[in-house]
Symmetry: C2
Subunit: 220 residues, 2 copies
Protein backbone atom coordinates (compact mmCIF):
# COMPACT_ATOMS: atom_id res chain seq x y z
CA UNK A 1 0.00 0.00 0.00
CA UNK A 2 2.67 2.52 0.99
CA UNK A 3 5.20 3.65 -1.55
CA UNK A 4 8.09 4.44 0.74
CA UNK A 5 9.55 2.07 3.24
CA UNK A 6 11.78 3.90 5.65
CA UNK A 7 13.85 1.01 6.99
CA UNK A 8 11.77 -0.60 9.64
CA UNK A 9 14.04 -3.12 11.34
CA UNK A 10 17.08 -3.36 13.59
CA UNK A 11 19.73 -4.23 11.03
CA UNK A 12 19.68 -4.75 7.29
CA UNK A 13 20.96 -7.78 5.44
CA UNK A 14 24.67 -7.35 4.81
CA UNK A 15 26.53 -7.97 1.57
CA UNK A 16 24.40 -10.72 0.10
CA UNK A 17 25.18 -13.36 2.71
CA UNK A 18 25.52 -13.43 6.44
CA UNK A 19 28.42 -15.16 8.07
CA UNK A 20 26.96 -16.96 11.02
CA UNK A 21 27.20 -20.65 11.72
CA UNK A 22 24.18 -22.36 13.29
CA UNK A 23 25.50 -21.74 16.77
CA UNK A 24 23.56 -19.91 19.48
CA UNK A 25 23.92 -16.10 19.41
CA UNK A 26 20.80 -13.99 19.98
CA UNK A 27 19.34 -10.74 18.79
CA UNK A 28 19.55 -11.94 15.22
CA UNK A 29 15.94 -13.01 14.83
CA UNK A 30 15.27 -10.72 11.93
CA UNK A 31 18.22 -12.10 10.01
CA UNK A 32 17.27 -15.67 10.84
CA UNK A 33 13.79 -15.04 9.51
CA UNK A 34 15.28 -13.77 6.27
CA UNK A 35 17.52 -16.78 5.91
CA UNK A 36 14.85 -19.36 6.60
CA UNK A 37 12.26 -17.59 4.49
CA UNK A 38 14.65 -17.27 1.57
CA UNK A 39 15.56 -20.92 1.77
CA UNK A 40 11.98 -22.13 1.94
CA UNK A 41 10.69 -19.68 -0.66
CA UNK A 42 13.40 -20.76 -3.08
CA UNK A 43 13.00 -24.47 -2.44
CA UNK A 44 9.24 -24.87 -2.14
CA UNK A 45 8.01 -21.66 -3.73
CA UNK A 46 6.85 -18.34 -2.37
CA UNK A 47 3.12 -19.02 -2.54
CA UNK A 48 3.39 -22.58 -1.35
CA UNK A 49 5.38 -21.64 1.71
CA UNK A 50 3.23 -20.30 4.51
CA UNK A 51 4.48 -18.08 7.27
CA UNK A 52 3.45 -20.81 9.66
CA UNK A 53 6.11 -23.05 8.11
CA UNK A 54 8.71 -20.33 8.38
CA UNK A 55 7.82 -19.70 11.99
CA UNK A 56 7.83 -23.39 12.88
CA UNK A 57 11.26 -23.91 11.37
CA UNK A 58 12.50 -21.05 13.54
CA UNK A 59 10.74 -22.27 16.67
CA UNK A 60 8.60 -19.17 16.98
CA UNK A 61 5.04 -18.30 16.09
CA UNK A 62 3.64 -16.52 13.11
CA UNK A 63 2.84 -13.45 15.14
CA UNK A 64 6.50 -13.03 15.99
CA UNK A 65 7.30 -12.64 12.32
CA UNK A 66 4.92 -9.74 12.14
CA UNK A 67 6.90 -7.92 14.75
CA UNK A 68 9.91 -7.91 12.43
CA UNK A 69 8.17 -7.58 9.08
CA UNK A 70 4.93 -5.93 8.21
CA UNK A 71 3.90 -8.54 5.65
CA UNK A 72 5.00 -11.61 3.76
CA UNK A 73 5.92 -9.50 0.78
CA UNK A 74 7.99 -7.32 3.03
CA UNK A 75 10.21 -10.26 3.92
CA UNK A 76 10.86 -10.83 0.25
CA UNK A 77 11.59 -7.19 -0.33
CA UNK A 78 14.08 -7.18 2.51
CA UNK A 79 16.35 -9.68 0.82
CA UNK A 80 15.74 -8.81 -2.81
CA UNK A 81 16.24 -5.08 -2.75
CA UNK A 82 19.88 -5.50 -1.91
CA UNK A 83 20.35 -7.71 -4.95
CA UNK A 84 18.58 -5.30 -7.26
CA UNK A 85 20.57 -2.40 -5.87
CA UNK A 86 23.76 -4.13 -6.82
CA UNK A 87 22.60 -4.62 -10.37
CA UNK A 88 21.47 -1.01 -10.51
CA UNK A 89 24.85 0.11 -9.26
CA UNK A 90 26.49 -1.99 -11.94
CA UNK A 91 24.31 -0.40 -14.61
CA UNK A 92 25.16 3.08 -13.37
CA UNK A 93 28.85 2.22 -13.34
CA UNK A 94 28.68 0.70 -16.82
CA UNK A 95 27.07 3.79 -18.27
CA UNK A 96 29.93 5.89 -16.97
CA UNK A 97 32.57 3.78 -18.64
CA UNK A 98 33.89 4.30 -22.16
CA UNK A 99 31.97 1.95 -24.49
CA UNK A 100 33.90 -0.96 -25.91
CA UNK A 101 35.02 -4.51 -25.45
CA UNK A 102 36.85 -3.81 -22.23
CA UNK A 103 33.83 -2.33 -20.50
CA UNK A 104 31.68 -5.17 -21.81
CA UNK A 105 34.04 -7.69 -20.29
CA UNK A 106 34.12 -5.85 -16.99
CA UNK A 107 30.34 -5.59 -16.80
CA UNK A 108 29.95 -9.30 -17.44
CA UNK A 109 32.56 -10.11 -14.85
CA UNK A 110 30.90 -7.97 -12.21
CA UNK A 111 27.48 -9.28 -13.13
CA UNK A 112 28.67 -12.83 -12.63
CA UNK A 113 30.15 -11.83 -9.31
CA UNK A 114 26.82 -10.41 -8.18
CA UNK A 115 25.01 -13.59 -9.18
CA UNK A 116 27.49 -15.89 -7.48
CA UNK A 117 27.54 -13.90 -4.25
CA UNK A 118 23.75 -13.81 -4.11
CA UNK A 119 23.00 -17.22 -5.50
CA UNK A 120 20.21 -18.05 -3.09
CA UNK A 121 18.42 -14.82 -3.78
CA UNK A 122 18.84 -15.26 -7.49
CA UNK A 123 17.54 -18.80 -7.32
CA UNK A 124 14.51 -17.50 -5.49
CA UNK A 125 13.91 -14.80 -8.09
CA UNK A 126 14.31 -17.21 -10.97
CA UNK A 127 11.98 -19.82 -9.64
CA UNK A 128 9.30 -17.43 -8.49
CA UNK A 129 9.07 -15.08 -11.44
CA UNK A 130 5.36 -15.61 -11.78
CA UNK A 131 4.71 -14.78 -8.16
CA UNK A 132 6.74 -11.61 -8.37
CA UNK A 133 5.38 -10.20 -11.60
CA UNK A 134 2.67 -7.98 -10.21
CA UNK A 135 0.73 -7.39 -7.07
CA UNK A 136 -2.98 -7.90 -6.79
CA UNK A 137 -3.94 -4.35 -7.68
CA UNK A 138 -1.95 -4.02 -10.85
CA UNK A 139 1.03 -2.33 -9.28
CA UNK A 140 4.50 -3.70 -9.75
CA UNK A 141 5.70 -5.56 -6.72
CA UNK A 142 9.37 -5.47 -7.39
CA UNK A 143 11.16 -3.80 -10.20
CA UNK A 144 11.44 -6.27 -12.98
CA UNK A 145 14.23 -8.03 -14.79
CA UNK A 146 13.38 -6.73 -18.21
CA UNK A 147 14.32 -3.05 -17.89
CA UNK A 148 17.58 -3.99 -16.20
CA UNK A 149 18.35 -6.52 -18.87
CA UNK A 150 17.74 -3.92 -21.55
CA UNK A 151 20.03 -1.50 -19.78
CA UNK A 152 22.79 -4.07 -19.50
CA UNK A 153 22.42 -5.01 -23.14
CA UNK A 154 22.75 -1.41 -24.21
CA UNK A 155 25.94 -1.02 -22.21
CA UNK A 156 27.39 -4.07 -23.93
CA UNK A 157 26.27 -3.35 -27.47
CA UNK A 158 25.87 0.39 -27.52
CA UNK A 159 22.61 2.04 -28.61
CA UNK A 160 20.72 0.99 -31.75
CA UNK A 161 22.62 -2.26 -32.12
CA UNK A 162 21.29 -4.82 -34.63
CA UNK A 163 19.08 -7.63 -33.30
CA UNK A 164 21.84 -10.18 -33.57
CA UNK A 165 24.08 -8.25 -31.20
CA UNK A 166 21.28 -7.62 -28.77
CA UNK A 167 20.20 -11.24 -28.68
CA UNK A 168 23.73 -12.42 -28.14
CA UNK A 169 24.28 -9.95 -25.33
CA UNK A 170 21.08 -11.06 -23.67
CA UNK A 171 22.09 -14.66 -24.16
CA UNK A 172 25.35 -13.95 -22.36
CA UNK A 173 23.49 -12.78 -19.27
CA UNK A 174 21.02 -15.66 -19.41
CA UNK A 175 23.69 -18.24 -19.90
CA UNK A 176 25.86 -16.78 -17.18
CA UNK A 177 23.20 -16.64 -14.51
CA UNK A 178 21.57 -19.94 -15.34
CA UNK A 179 24.90 -21.74 -15.46
CA UNK A 180 25.85 -20.37 -12.09
CA UNK A 181 22.59 -21.65 -10.68
CA UNK A 182 22.66 -25.09 -12.19
CA UNK A 183 26.30 -25.91 -11.65
CA UNK A 184 26.26 -24.94 -8.01
CA UNK A 185 25.00 -27.30 -5.39
CA UNK A 186 21.45 -26.47 -4.49
CA UNK A 187 20.06 -28.69 -1.77
CA UNK A 188 22.71 -30.96 -0.22
CA UNK A 189 20.40 -33.95 -0.52
CA UNK A 190 20.22 -34.08 -4.28
CA UNK A 191 22.39 -36.77 -5.79
CA UNK A 192 23.76 -35.27 -8.97
CA UNK A 193 25.63 -37.84 -10.95
CA UNK A 194 27.92 -35.46 -12.80
CA UNK A 195 30.54 -33.82 -10.60
CA UNK A 196 30.31 -30.05 -10.24
CA UNK A 197 33.22 -27.72 -10.95
CA UNK A 198 34.34 -25.64 -7.99
CA UNK A 199 33.18 -22.06 -7.85
CA UNK A 200 36.35 -20.43 -9.11
CA UNK A 201 36.57 -22.75 -12.07
CA UNK A 202 32.90 -22.28 -12.81
CA UNK A 203 33.28 -18.55 -12.72
CA UNK A 204 36.14 -18.64 -15.20
CA UNK A 205 34.24 -20.91 -17.57
CA UNK A 206 31.14 -18.75 -17.42
CA UNK A 207 32.99 -15.52 -17.97
CA UNK A 208 34.80 -16.96 -20.97
CA UNK A 209 31.56 -18.16 -22.47
CA UNK A 210 29.88 -14.83 -21.95
CA UNK A 211 32.79 -13.08 -23.59
CA UNK A 212 32.53 -15.41 -26.56
CA UNK A 213 28.91 -14.48 -26.98
CA UNK A 214 29.42 -10.74 -26.87
CA UNK A 215 32.88 -10.35 -28.28
CA UNK A 216 32.96 -11.81 -31.75
CA UNK A 217 32.54 -10.28 -35.18
CA UNK A 218 29.35 -10.22 -37.26
CA UNK A 219 28.47 -13.34 -39.28
CA UNK A 220 30.07 -14.14 -42.62
Amino acid sequence: MDAVLPDQGPEELGPARVDCAPGGRRGDTRVRIQQVALELFAEHGYERTSLREVAERLGVTKAALYYHFKSKEDIVRSFTEDHFSRVDDLIAWGRDQPPGAHTAHEVLDRYIAIIMEGLEVFRFLERNQASLRESEHGKHRFEQFRPRLNALIEIITGPDAPPRSRVRAAAAFFAASASCMVFTRDAPDEADQPPLPDRDELRKIVLELADDLTGDAPPA
Copy 2:
Protein backbone atom coordinates in the same frame (compact mmCIF):
# COMPACT_ATOMS: atom_id res chain seq x y z
CA MET B 1 -2.83 -40.08 -6.23
CA ASP B 2 -3.07 -42.30 -9.30
CA ALA B 3 0.05 -43.10 -11.25
CA VAL B 4 -1.49 -43.71 -14.64
CA LEU B 5 -3.78 -41.29 -16.35
CA PRO B 6 -5.62 -43.06 -19.17
CA ASP B 7 -6.62 -40.10 -21.32
CA GLN B 8 -9.70 -38.72 -19.70
CA GLY B 9 -11.05 -36.14 -22.14
CA PRO B 10 -12.62 -35.82 -25.60
CA GLU B 11 -9.59 -34.71 -27.57
CA GLU B 12 -6.01 -34.07 -26.59
CA LEU B 13 -4.10 -30.88 -27.26
CA GLY B 14 -2.65 -31.10 -30.76
CA PRO B 15 0.91 -30.28 -31.81
CA ALA B 16 1.66 -27.57 -29.30
CA ARG B 17 -0.88 -25.06 -30.57
CA VAL B 18 -4.47 -25.23 -31.68
CA ASP B 19 -5.56 -23.51 -34.86
CA CYS B 20 -8.84 -21.89 -33.98
CA ALA B 21 -9.62 -18.24 -34.32
CA PRO B 22 -11.86 -16.70 -31.64
CA GLY B 23 -15.01 -17.39 -33.64
CA GLY B 24 -17.96 -19.31 -32.28
CA ARG B 25 -17.61 -23.11 -32.70
CA ARG B 26 -18.68 -25.39 -29.86
CA GLY B 27 -17.63 -28.63 -28.31
CA ASP B 28 -14.20 -27.17 -27.72
CA THR B 29 -14.64 -26.29 -24.07
CA ARG B 30 -11.82 -28.50 -22.92
CA VAL B 31 -9.39 -26.84 -25.30
CA ARG B 32 -10.61 -23.38 -24.38
CA ILE B 33 -10.02 -24.15 -20.72
CA GLN B 34 -6.47 -25.19 -21.53
CA GLN B 35 -5.82 -22.05 -23.51
CA VAL B 36 -7.21 -19.66 -20.92
CA ALA B 37 -5.59 -21.47 -18.02
CA LEU B 38 -2.23 -21.52 -19.75
CA GLU B 39 -2.44 -17.85 -20.50
CA LEU B 40 -3.43 -16.87 -16.98
CA PHE B 41 -1.02 -19.28 -15.29
CA ALA B 42 1.83 -17.91 -17.37
CA GLU B 43 0.93 -14.28 -16.94
CA HIS B 44 -0.20 -14.10 -13.33
CA GLY B 45 1.26 -17.30 -11.91
CA TYR B 46 -0.12 -20.74 -11.23
CA GLU B 47 -0.79 -20.26 -7.53
CA ARG B 48 -2.07 -16.75 -7.88
CA THR B 49 -4.60 -17.73 -10.52
CA SER B 50 -7.70 -19.31 -9.06
CA LEU B 51 -10.00 -21.58 -10.96
CA ARG B 52 -12.70 -19.04 -10.34
CA GLU B 53 -10.75 -16.59 -12.50
CA VAL B 54 -10.29 -19.15 -15.23
CA ALA B 55 -13.98 -19.99 -15.17
CA GLU B 56 -15.05 -16.36 -15.18
CA ARG B 57 -12.89 -15.56 -18.19
CA LEU B 58 -14.58 -18.42 -20.01
CA GLY B 59 -18.07 -17.46 -18.91
CA VAL B 60 -18.65 -20.72 -17.04
CA THR B 61 -18.50 -21.75 -13.41
CA LYS B 62 -15.79 -23.49 -11.47
CA ALA B 63 -17.76 -26.70 -11.34
CA ALA B 64 -17.77 -26.90 -15.13
CA LEU B 65 -13.99 -27.07 -15.10
CA TYR B 66 -14.18 -30.12 -12.90
CA TYR B 67 -16.16 -31.95 -15.50
CA HIS B 68 -13.25 -31.65 -17.93
CA PHE B 69 -10.34 -31.93 -15.50
CA LYS B 70 -10.10 -33.71 -12.22
CA SER B 71 -7.99 -31.05 -10.53
CA LYS B 72 -6.09 -27.84 -11.07
CA GLU B 73 -2.86 -29.77 -11.44
CA ASP B 74 -4.50 -31.92 -14.05
CA ILE B 75 -5.07 -28.89 -16.27
CA VAL B 76 -1.38 -28.13 -16.09
CA ARG B 77 -0.46 -31.68 -16.85
CA SER B 78 -2.71 -31.68 -19.91
CA PHE B 79 -0.71 -28.96 -21.62
CA THR B 80 2.75 -29.72 -20.29
CA GLU B 81 3.01 -33.42 -20.98
CA ASP B 82 2.99 -32.83 -24.69
CA HIS B 83 5.92 -30.45 -24.37
CA PHE B 84 7.93 -32.85 -22.23
CA SER B 85 7.17 -35.69 -24.62
CA ARG B 86 8.69 -33.75 -27.45
CA VAL B 87 11.87 -33.17 -25.50
CA ASP B 88 11.97 -36.84 -24.54
CA ASP B 89 11.56 -37.82 -28.17
CA LEU B 90 14.40 -35.51 -29.07
CA ILE B 91 16.62 -37.10 -26.43
CA ALA B 92 15.80 -40.57 -27.68
CA TRP B 93 16.51 -39.50 -31.24
CA GLY B 94 19.78 -37.85 -30.27
CA ARG B 95 21.02 -40.94 -28.49
CA ASP B 96 20.49 -42.94 -31.67
CA GLN B 97 22.58 -40.59 -33.77
CA PRO B 98 26.32 -40.87 -34.30
CA PRO B 99 28.03 -38.53 -31.81
CA GLY B 100 29.69 -35.46 -33.23
CA ALA B 101 29.28 -31.87 -34.27
CA HIS B 102 26.58 -32.62 -36.81
CA THR B 103 24.33 -34.35 -34.32
CA ALA B 104 24.95 -31.59 -31.80
CA HIS B 105 23.84 -29.01 -34.30
CA GLU B 106 20.74 -30.99 -35.20
CA VAL B 107 19.76 -31.47 -31.57
CA LEU B 108 20.10 -27.76 -30.88
CA ASP B 109 18.08 -26.93 -33.96
CA ARG B 110 15.30 -29.27 -33.02
CA TYR B 111 15.34 -28.12 -29.41
CA ILE B 112 14.93 -24.52 -30.52
CA ALA B 113 12.06 -25.60 -32.75
CA ILE B 114 10.33 -27.26 -29.81
CA ILE B 115 10.71 -24.14 -27.68
CA MET B 116 9.47 -21.78 -30.37
CA GLU B 117 6.46 -23.91 -31.21
CA GLY B 118 5.48 -24.22 -27.57
CA LEU B 119 6.48 -20.80 -26.38
CA GLU B 120 3.48 -20.22 -24.15
CA VAL B 121 3.95 -23.53 -22.40
CA PHE B 122 7.63 -22.89 -21.96
CA ARG B 123 6.97 -19.45 -20.57
CA PHE B 124 4.61 -21.00 -18.08
CA LEU B 125 7.17 -23.60 -17.04
CA GLU B 126 9.93 -21.07 -16.70
CA ARG B 127 7.98 -18.63 -14.59
CA ASN B 128 6.43 -21.23 -12.33
CA GLN B 129 9.39 -23.44 -11.56
CA ALA B 130 8.87 -23.13 -7.84
CA SER B 131 5.24 -24.18 -8.05
CA LEU B 132 6.09 -27.20 -10.15
CA ARG B 133 9.02 -28.51 -8.18
CA GLU B 134 7.22 -30.93 -5.94
CA SER B 135 3.78 -31.76 -4.75
CA GLU B 136 2.66 -31.52 -1.18
CA HIS B 137 3.52 -35.08 -0.26
CA GLY B 138 7.06 -35.11 -1.49
CA LYS B 139 6.31 -36.70 -4.82
CA HIS B 140 7.42 -35.12 -8.04
CA ARG B 141 4.60 -33.34 -9.77
CA PHE B 142 6.06 -33.23 -13.19
CA GLU B 143 9.29 -34.68 -14.40
CA GLN B 144 11.90 -32.07 -13.96
CA PHE B 145 14.14 -30.04 -16.19
CA ARG B 146 17.37 -31.26 -14.68
CA PRO B 147 17.48 -34.88 -15.83
CA ARG B 148 16.48 -33.83 -19.33
CA LEU B 149 19.13 -31.15 -19.39
CA ASN B 150 21.73 -33.66 -18.31
CA ALA B 151 20.66 -36.02 -21.04
CA LEU B 152 20.84 -33.31 -23.69
CA ILE B 153 24.25 -32.22 -22.47
CA GLU B 154 25.57 -35.73 -22.73
CA ILE B 155 24.35 -36.03 -26.30
CA ILE B 156 26.15 -32.82 -27.19
CA THR B 157 29.40 -33.45 -25.35
CA GLY B 158 29.59 -37.20 -25.12
CA PRO B 159 30.03 -38.97 -21.79
CA ASP B 160 32.63 -37.90 -19.21
CA ALA B 161 33.21 -34.54 -20.82
CA PRO B 162 35.19 -31.94 -18.85
CA PRO B 163 33.25 -29.33 -16.86
CA ARG B 164 33.97 -26.61 -19.36
CA SER B 165 32.25 -28.50 -22.16
CA ARG B 166 29.33 -29.41 -19.99
CA VAL B 167 28.79 -25.87 -18.78
CA ARG B 168 28.97 -24.53 -22.30
CA ALA B 169 26.49 -27.08 -23.57
CA ALA B 170 24.11 -26.24 -20.76
CA ALA B 171 24.60 -22.56 -21.48
CA ALA B 172 23.61 -23.17 -25.08
CA PHE B 173 20.26 -24.57 -24.00
CA PHE B 174 19.67 -21.85 -21.42
CA ALA B 175 20.60 -19.10 -23.80
CA ALA B 176 18.50 -20.55 -26.59
CA SER B 177 15.33 -20.97 -24.60
CA ALA B 178 15.60 -17.73 -22.67
CA SER B 179 16.35 -15.75 -25.80
CA CYS B 180 13.33 -17.20 -27.54
CA MET B 181 11.18 -16.18 -24.62
CA VAL B 182 12.48 -12.69 -24.19
CA PHE B 183 12.69 -11.67 -27.82
CA THR B 184 9.19 -12.79 -28.62
CA ARG B 185 6.22 -10.62 -27.86
CA ASP B 186 4.63 -11.66 -24.62
CA ALA B 187 1.59 -9.62 -23.73
CA PRO B 188 0.51 -7.26 -26.53
CA ASP B 189 0.15 -4.40 -24.07
CA GLU B 190 3.79 -4.12 -23.07
CA ALA B 191 5.55 -1.22 -24.71
CA ASP B 192 9.01 -2.53 -25.48
CA GLN B 193 11.21 0.22 -26.75
CA PRO B 194 13.62 -1.99 -28.69
CA PRO B 195 12.12 -3.59 -31.81
CA LEU B 196 11.95 -7.37 -31.85
CA PRO B 197 13.42 -9.49 -34.64
CA ASP B 198 10.90 -11.63 -36.47
CA ARG B 199 10.72 -15.28 -35.56
CA ASP B 200 12.73 -16.68 -38.44
CA GLU B 201 15.52 -14.20 -37.91
CA LEU B 202 15.47 -14.86 -34.18
CA ARG B 203 15.69 -18.55 -34.73
CA LYS B 204 18.71 -18.18 -36.98
CA ILE B 205 20.48 -15.92 -34.49
CA VAL B 206 19.77 -18.25 -31.61
CA LEU B 207 20.92 -21.36 -33.43
CA GLU B 208 24.14 -19.67 -34.48
CA LEU B 209 24.82 -18.60 -30.92
CA ALA B 210 24.13 -22.04 -29.55
CA ASP B 211 26.48 -23.55 -32.10
CA ASP B 212 29.17 -21.10 -31.10
CA LEU B 213 28.85 -22.20 -27.50
CA THR B 214 29.08 -25.92 -28.20
CA GLY B 215 31.25 -26.05 -31.28
CA ASP B 216 34.56 -24.44 -30.52
CA ALA B 217 37.89 -25.82 -29.41
CA PRO B 218 39.21 -26.01 -25.85
CA PRO B 219 40.84 -22.86 -24.41
CA ALA B 220 44.40 -21.83 -25.24
